[in-house]
């Protein structure tokens, strides 16, 4: 595969976290296990461990984000990092400073780790190829390519509820074409030996040759949901109505919206997930979103532990067991 191992150091440990593709099952499992050791931190009076004490993390968001950015920031704070968060006005960088100049100026401020979201596919690899040795890059979403921490928190959620992947049928529903989340999820699910990964979307939102990623394709939501154990709904961007990708939100909901009735086709104990932010009444009915099968809010809280896990593995510590005693840095 052309995906080289820029993400790993010579000992096979995480150096950057750019894409699920290129990693192996052992690393994904280690991330999930490490995240497990961090979930208890949130329940403490003092929600901090000193794993990133003395380290500086820059959150560089070239694209708007609420949830991803805030869970990264919380994860960094709970690991006791110093934090610099920048919403970069992309038009300003286009006009003046080049991307690399922005990055190098920040590097000059002794940043140890960059969390970057950028609208170009491949930007995370690009930054990782150009940072100084010892500086790490975490991909918080690059164009339509990957969003690996989101996929890992989804895997964490699935494992939390379903324990083992090998017997699972998982359906990913919606705008697969534009979704970096879907790409990362598909790689992660396959690496974790999921029995079947289905993608369900209208043809205009289905990437060409998507079956080459190891999924089966469904044009029909009702058929695609049959007997699945996990339903992952994707956000439908409103701008997809322009450019002739879809006729209307109403028709989309009629064909691909997740209703209580349709959910009945899935396994009775199926869980419903959504990376957020959701459009109620467009891709998902409110009663499903707030229903007992929905684990959407749990996903968000697991997101903090998973991001803590990835960052601590990058600085060479696998979870709390090998770290210094918690709570020292309040």
């Amino acid at each position: 595969m052309p995906n080289s191992n820029i993400q790993l150091d010579d000992n096979g440990r995480l150096r950057h976290f750019l894409s699920i593709e290129g990693l192996d099952q052992a690393i994904l499992t280690e991330i999930l296990d490490t995240a497990g050791s961090f979930t208890s931190v949130a329940d403490r009076t003092i929600k901090k461990v000193p794993i990133l004490r003395g380290k500086t993390v820059a959150n560089l968001f070239f694209e708007a984000s609420t949830r991803t950015r805030s869970t990264f920031e919380l994860a960094e704070q709970r690991l006791s990092a110093d934090i610099l968060s920048l919403n970069v006005d992309t038009s300003a960088t286009v006009k003046g400073e080049s991307l690399l100049d922005t990055l190098q100026n920040l590097e000059a401020m002794q940043i140890d780790m960059f969390v970057i979201r950028h609208q170009d596919s491949g930007s995370a690899h690009f930054f990782a190829q150009h940072v100084r040795p010892g500086v790490s890059v975490l991909n918080a979403g690059d164009g339509q390519h990957e969003h690996p921490t989101q996929a890992m928190l989804d895997m964490y959620t699935i494992r939390h509820y379903k324990r083992d992947f090998s017997g699972l049928r998982v359906a990913i529903v919606g705008d697969i074409l534009h979704s970096r989340v879907a790409r990362s999820q598909i790689h992660a699910l396959n690496l974790l030996n999921t029995a079947e990964v289905r993608v369900i979307a209208p043809r205009t939102l289905m990437p060409v040759a998507v079956e080459s990623l190891g999924v089966s394709i469904y044009d029909d939501l009702e058929k695609g949901l049959a007997d699945v154990d996990v339903v992952i709904m994707l956000r439908l961007q409103r701008e997809r109505m322009r450019g002739a990708l879809l006729p209307s939100e109403k028709e989309y909901f009629r064909k691909f919206g997740l209703s209580q009735e349709r959910l009945q086709r899935a396994s009775p104990d199926a869980i419903v997930m959504h990376p957020g932010p959701a459009n109620r009444g467009v891709e998902i009915e409110s009663s499903v979103m707030d229903g007992k099968q929905s684990v959407i809010l749990q996903q968000v809280s697991f997101g903090i532990s998973v991001r803590m896990a990835v960052m601590s593995m990058i600085v060479g510590q696998s979870g709390l067991s090998s770290g210094p005693q918690p709570g020292g840095d309040a």
């Binding site: 052309p2 080049s98 491949g122 990437p207 998507v210 990623l213």
Partner: protein, 425 residues
């Protein structure tokens, strides 16, 4: 000035032969082959033993970035690269800044080539529409009179099929060649990679084959309608090769070229978002590459070009979708072409015809053949010399190669234009 090249193996593109023949040059012409004309006395003798003598290469699509983009390249740097690599003639598309849509720009280019160039012949292709804006016809008759060899709108869209039809009608009236790179801009969109498994995996905005083939189908219909002599540039798809083959069989006045990198690279080469692999049209898949090679061998594709697009470092130092498309190709054109012979795609004379006689005949240019009375644009090539491609050693100002580290055989030892040695290794 008279010159005698002895003991070389002359590649005859017209008769598809390779023969050991002495070549005699005088006053910018080839005056004798095999035997000297009466009274010939050589001022200089070049011994070309174990080397090939070829017509100077004619690259029918190369951007010199002059005028307008000196940070990328200029006539001085690129003609130096050309003659070092055996390219004696360059057709340059009109998307300079300002575009080649007026006589002053044509004169400026010729003037700069005379002042700063390295004797390579530069053939401007005029803009089909004013400012390449796609709406008003350019002054084609004046541009022809000033030396434009064809007309094209480069990669800029035309406002409508009506404008295209009229431009082709008008060009026909001037007996001018129209050059079209078939591209539907709506289907192109913001795409940057071939629509297929690789673009899907990398999440890159994709370019379907129909961005080329839908445009080509319409273009062929407009050739049938107008009778304008038309050359299709830089084809990339198997289906395009089929369409051109069928249109030629119907007797339409068309010809075609492909960029040489399309015969060696596919979308797999994008690897980890390597921006040097970003081209428009995009690198496609193995089946397309094979069909282009077949089309080249069976004559559907008449010419090979470098599609040379030199860039400054910063243009490629960006995430893949934001980088600028194009490959710096002058330094690798001949070596890649010779690989096609080594890989049995076609014979050496037939290959060289695609780089000499065919573009000369389609674009109406001097040279392109080694025969008595022809212009003495010749190159001498050592076919066995081995080298490893290294952008740092490129003569072109553009170091944006897609072939870094490739093993090549064959390099130019002499380039002669108008009977004068303009490069010697």
């Amino acid at each position: 000035m008279s010159l005698h090249i002895c003991n070389g193996r002359v590649v005859g593109v017209a008769e598809s032969s390779i023969r050991t023949l002495d070549v005699y040059l005088q006053n910018g012409k080839i005056v004798g082959l095999g035997s000297a004309p009466n009274g010939f006395r050589a001022k200089q003798v070049i011994d070309a033993e174990n080397r090939l003598i070829l017509p100077g290469l004619i690259d029918c699509q190369a951007r010199l970035r002059d005028p307008g983009e000196p940070e990328k390249a200029n006539i001085e740097s690129e003609t130096r690269a050309a003659v070092k690599n055996g390219i004696t003639g360059l057709c340059i598309p009109p998307d300079t800044q300002p575009p080649i849509d007026n006589s002053a720009t044509v004169e400026l280019i010729h003037h700069r080539n005379e002042m700063f160039g390295h004797q390579a012949r530069v053939f401007p292709i005029g803009a089909l529409t004013r400012g390449l804006g796609g709406e008003q016809l350019s002054n084609m008759a004046s541009l022809c009179a000033n030396g434009c060899v064809a007309f094209s709108n480069a990669k800029h869209p035309l406002a409508s099929n009506l404008v295209q039809r009229r431009a082709m009608d008008y060009a026909r009236g001037q007996q001018a060649l129209v050059v079209i790179q078939p591209l539907d801009h709506d289907l192109l969109g913001s795409g940057c990679a071939h629509e297929g498994a690789i673009a899907t995996r990398l999440g890159l905005p994709s370019i379907p084959e129909a961005a080329e083939t839908a445009a080509l189908a319409k273009d062929i219909e407009l050739v049938a309608q107008t009778g304008a002599r038309t050359h299709f540039g830089q084809l990339s798809c198997a289906r395009s090769v089929d369409m051109v083959r069928r249109a030629k069989a119907k007797g339409l006045p068309i010809s075609a070229d492909c960029a040489i990198h399309q015969l060696f690279l596919t979308d797999h080469d994008i690897g980890n978002f390597d921006s040097n692999m970003l081209t428009i049209p995009p690198l496609r898949v193995q089946a397309d590459r094979d069909a282009l090679r077949k089309g080249l061998a069976d004559g559907t594709i008449d010419c090979l070009c470098s599609d040379h697009q030199p860039h400054e470092v910063d243009a490629k130092l960006k995430p893949f979708p934001s980088a600028e498309p194009g490959i710096s190709g002058l330094d690798t054109l001949l070596a890649l072409a010779l690989r096609l012979v080594a890989e049995d795609v076609l014979s050496l004379p037939d290959l060289i015809a695609k780089l000499t006689m065919n573009p000369a005949s389609i674009f109406g240019l001097p040279g392109g053949n080694i025969g008595v009375g022809e212009a003495a644009d010749l190159i001498i090539v050592d076919p066995d010399s081995h080298w490893i491609c290294d952008a740092a050693a490129f003569v072109s100002k553009g170091k944006n190669t897609a072939f870094q580290g490739w093993d090549f055989h064959g390099s130019v030892t002499h380039t002669l234009i108008d009977g004068k040695v303009v490069y010697q290794s």
